[in-house]
């Protein structure tokens, strides 16, 4: 995530520090990636670096789960009910092969969290992408064409924003499930969740994109493109979209954290991912039932994983907002 942002954004205030346009050699992709104001700000912000590091570790660990997790929680041959409800190693009764203990079905907690985190991150990413594509598209159309199109799109967004996000997601999720034939519900649950969260997310993106589009389309480079006679879709794709992506990427990062939480909330409420392929939210819900019988580790570790992940992504988003919008500082 963060690397793609850096690649996107190399432009900066080098004009002011580079008086009278002394000649700069044409630079390759890599040198532009490293030597720019955004990267500079990144390497001078310990919070951003730590956040990026944690995010990277989380993403790598979960994506590589099939290779690094000690057990495969979905392989019945590796699960033994006899090993159920074991505490973490450092607690009395813990066993060395189950580092963070086991859950009620005897699955290794560490492995389950890694697999569950993978699902959470993937669902979050997919949902944000859906919301972003939808929102950016509608926002850019709204901002560039204006008039009735703008009014309709933005009023729909306004109305949607009056409904609390999680309520709406539950609603869309519920409707989506009901529409599916019974035998497909389990298999398609993940896609329904992605769809529900993505649809809840788009007004944020649409609003920001519309604002940026209004600013950009007044600029002279867009007018120059119009004077050349380029068709509107080409102006939007080539000239406006790349220039409105900065703020969009900022909300996308913060939106990713929110989407992961939304997914966890849906799953926690039993509305999201089924327990057979657990995500972090599902794990927390399952563990919650055992919390009062003293099996705290089943819910605490997935919850801690969720908090760390969301916190790191949020920090990254905050830094990015500061770095990309110096005026906000």
């Amino acid at each position: 995530m963060c690397l793609s942002i850096l690649a996107f954004d190399w432009e900066g205030s080098s004009i002011s520090t580079n008086p009278a346009g002394s000649v700069v050699k044409p630079r390759g992709f890599f040198s532009r990636l490293i030597d720019n104001d955004i990267a500079w700000s990144f390497f001078h912000s310990p919070a951003a670096m730590i956040a990026a590091f944690i995010t990277l570790v989380c993403v790598m660990a979960t994506m590589l789960a099939p290779w690094i997790a000690p057990f495969n929680p979905f392989d019945p041959s590796q699960i033994s009910l006899w090993d159920g409800k074991l505490p973490p190693v450092w607690v009395e009764g813990g066993q060395p092969q189950y580092l963070l203990g086991t859950d009620n079905q005897g699955r290794d907690m560490l492995s389950t969290i890694l697999y569950g985190g993978r699902l959470s991150i993937l669902v979050g990413l997919a949902a944000v992408c859906l919301g972003m594509v939808l929102g950016v598209l509608l926002g850019v159309i709204s901002g560039y064409f204006g008039g009735a199109v703008d009014a309709v799109i933005m009023r729909i967004a306004d109305i949607q924003l009056t409904i609390p996000g999680i309520l709406l997601a539950i609603l869309i999720n519920g409707i989506g499930r009901t529409l599916l034939p019974l035998e497909l519900r389990e298999d398609f649950a993940i896609y329904v969740v992605i769809f529900a969260i993505g649809l809840t997310d788009w007004p944020q993106f649409a609003r920001v994109t519309r604002g940026a589009t209004l600013v950009e389309s007044q600029k002279e480079y867009v007018q120059a493109a119009r004077v050349i006679g380029l068709p509107r879709w080409l102006i939007i794709m080539r000239h406006i979209l790349p220039n409105v992506m900065r703020p969009v990427l900022v909300i996308a990062t913060i939106g990713l954290a929110l989407a992961i939480i939304s997914e966890a909330t849906l799953s926690f409420l039993g509305q999201g991912i089924p327990p057979t392929t657990p995500s972090l939210g599902t794990l927390i819900r399952v563990g919650n039932e055992y919390l009062f019988s003293g099996l705290w580790w089943i819910t605490l570790f997935p919850a801690a994983a969720l908090v760390i992940l969301v916190f790191a992504v949020n920090l990254l988003g905050d830094w990015m907002r500061d770095a990309l919008n110096p005026k906000l500082r």
């Binding site: 520090t17 580079n18 008086p19 346009g21 004077v227 068709p231």
Partner: protein
Amino acid sequence: MATDQALLEIHNLSVQFPTRRGVVEAARAINLQVQPGEVLGLVGESGAGKSTIGNAIIDLLEHPGRVTEGSILFQGEELRGLDDDAMRKVRGDRIGMIFQDPQTSLNPLLRIGEQLIETIRKSLPVSDKEAHSRAVDLLEAVGIDQAEVRLKSYPHQFSGGMRQRVVIALALAGEPDLIIADEPTTALDVSIQAQILDLIRHLCKTRNLGVIIVTHDIGVIANIADRVAVMYRGEVVETGPVAQIVGAPQHDYTISLIAAVPPADRKLERFNSVDYIDGDNLDHSARRIDVGTHWLGEQSHSKSPDGAAVSVENLKLSFVLERALFKRNRKMLQAVDDVTFSIADGETFGLVGESGSGKSTVARLIVGLYKPQAGRIRVMGQEVELHKQDEQSLLARRALQMIFQDPYSSLNGRLKVLDIVAEPIRFFKMAGSEKQVRSIVKDLLDHVGLGAAAAMRYPHEFSGGQRQRISIARALASRPRILICDEPTSALDVSIQAQILNLLKDLQQELGLTMLFISHDLPVIRQMCDRVAVMRNGAICEIAQTELLFNAPSHEYTRHLLDLMPRMDLLDRHYQ
């Protein structure tokens, strides 16, 4: 105050800005003096460090700048190292500031009376009533009528020039001994500029104030300053009485700077070349190409039957200022009011006027960015419509290109220069292969004096003048017959302006282009144009041959504009 002592003495002042590309020395070993009752002009091009000095005096340097060396003695007192509280007292009470933009230097939510009285009470030990009468006096002093009534007005109820007068009144409120004016007239029209400069000079003389005027405009300096310090790259290269600096400059940089100012009183063949721009080390001697055989010279447009490249008849456009349900309640602005002119093939036609006169709107109407409410526009004998993709319209579009005012916003920062310049070529499919596109772009960049290597870089790596060259290359890429230049040099420094204008002149002669040249700057218009139209409030006052217009203007408004032109040959006007 001792009279034999200078009001402000700056010794060996250096200011540094640490950045990620190393420390930038914004000012180096500056020595300046200001006497009471004297106007010191601080002149230089952008980035010369002139504003930095003004800000350093009052300790308002932008983060992360800092004064690293030297001393600032104000009335014999060292200002460097004063703490924030002491500095704040110096700022309002003893040193007044006038900033560039009167829009932003007044609080829009407070009546100007409140702002004035608050400032007076903060710095002088007077009662409310006394402060009120002082405020009235101040407004009268800066030339605002009915001061008593005007105190109750909000800033938005004043025009730009009036607002700048209020800002000056605010600067005077604490009865300062020194006023620092940073580009005080840059945001204003010429007619208002002259009034404001006269006012500042008058106040300086009657109240025995020291004034530092920071500006990039030699004309302003020539009209107001007693002494001038010329800055270049953070250093003062020359100091002296204004008549000497403008009339007989000593330093090479000053000589080329003065030479680059377009003269108002005669027409030059070419602008004097400015040799002292050592930072701009690209080779600007544009490579000549043989137009007869080169791609650029190929003609795809037939001449229009009546010989007019562009003709505009009874053009009208109004903007809605305030929306309302009923027509009679709407407030409209007649931006373009019954404008008619035609530009002959190969001619340079000038459009001159103050801001808000509708000259840019006319340009945007011609290229199709706005739709006229009435009237006809014909380009090469054909009516043009934007976004129409049929062959006729595309051909007409190609013949017409525009160069914009602001080189920083007229190029898409996400595209390489190659892609920016190639856009029209690719879109109109004017080249057989991608290889040919590249070679054409490189030729074009060479031709505007940038060098082919520029193609693979991004716009932000170039300075303002270089960006404007890229803009010109893009405009030429569709092989237009008509070039519309909307204030192409008003965002540029005067030395760069001379280069760009020379380039435009050369291109026009070589390629036989027709040009519509829009500017608020009369001397520039005189150098560039064959015929000129003067616009005011959306209507054309006068169209005449350039020399005729400048020597024998027939319309009253034209005469008025010509009178206001800053003239460097009238230096002794203030010394009578």
